[in-house]
Point group: C2
Chain length 123, copies 2
DNA sequence: AGCGGGCTTCTACGTTTCGTAGAAATGATT
DNA sequence: AATCATTTCTACGAAACGTAGAAGCCCGCT
């Protein structure tokens, strides 16, 4: 469950997260070729990676149209929040972790956190 | 930098994090043998893992006394808070991540966070 | 219905990381 | 110097990932 992403897997997810629309493997291959200077994976490579990401639950595939369509299962933000909770959840001393976490955020973000906690409290 | 730990590496770190004192590889081997039912690694295995952890910056080694002494570089809590910051730092939309993060914590922890942010503000 | 070509799945190999530990080197102690 | 504890070197198997060719599948066209 504490799945980690490889480098190409991560790049693919970045594109899927950045796009509201579902994409085809061909779209992704082209984006990858354009973005990564030294790398331009074959279409089969992209499809393999997409299958793996599907198995890991990161990607949802639509088999209805013929070049299959892929989309991120959760938003990038959801995923990251989930990761943070995963870390926190594995701690024995959660308050100590939170204490250090809060101690290190910028004042700007501290203010944001206060706001978020405020609006959360009367709901 | 975003280093991930293997299973044995993690077990070793657990013991080091749990102990205030520095430990020898022999100590660790014994603890591992006692804790893990099916596993009891050779001393060389433990030493290999400790070297790798040292290279990764998780462990600090004292070569002064002859059975070398090992200690965790950072506390478990520091490490976890750091991990959380690492995740957050890699986000393009930090506030969106924080929003989801805060939205999912328990009321108890929300209260704790409010406190921490409070005491932080008049530091 | 058969065929051809795009699309997908299967299979496979190289690399890296980690668990594992013997062999070799080092160094202290008598 | 010889011996024994300790450390370092070297190596191999397994799993995850990047990589992509080979084989199979599906659909429109004639």
């Amino acid at each position: 469950m504490a799945t980690t992403l490889g480098e190409l897997e991560r790049s693919v997810m970045e594109f899927l997260w950045a796009s509201d629309e579902a994409m085809t493997a061909y779209d992704l291959r082209d984006r990858l070729a354009a973005a990564e200077v030294d790398r331009s994976p074959a279409i089969t490579t992209v499809l393999t990676v997409l299958s793996r990401l599907e198995n890991k639950g990161f990607v949802q595939r639509q088999r209805t149209s013929r070049p299959h369509l892929y989309r991120a299962q959760a938003s990038r933000e959801d995923h990251m929040a989930e990761l943070m909770h995963e870390v926190l959840g594995s701690a024995t001393n959660r308050s100590a972790v939170l204490e250090r976490f809060v101690g290190q955020v910028s004042e700007r973000e501290a203010a944001l956190l206060r706001e978020l906690l405020e609006s959360r409290s009367h709901r």
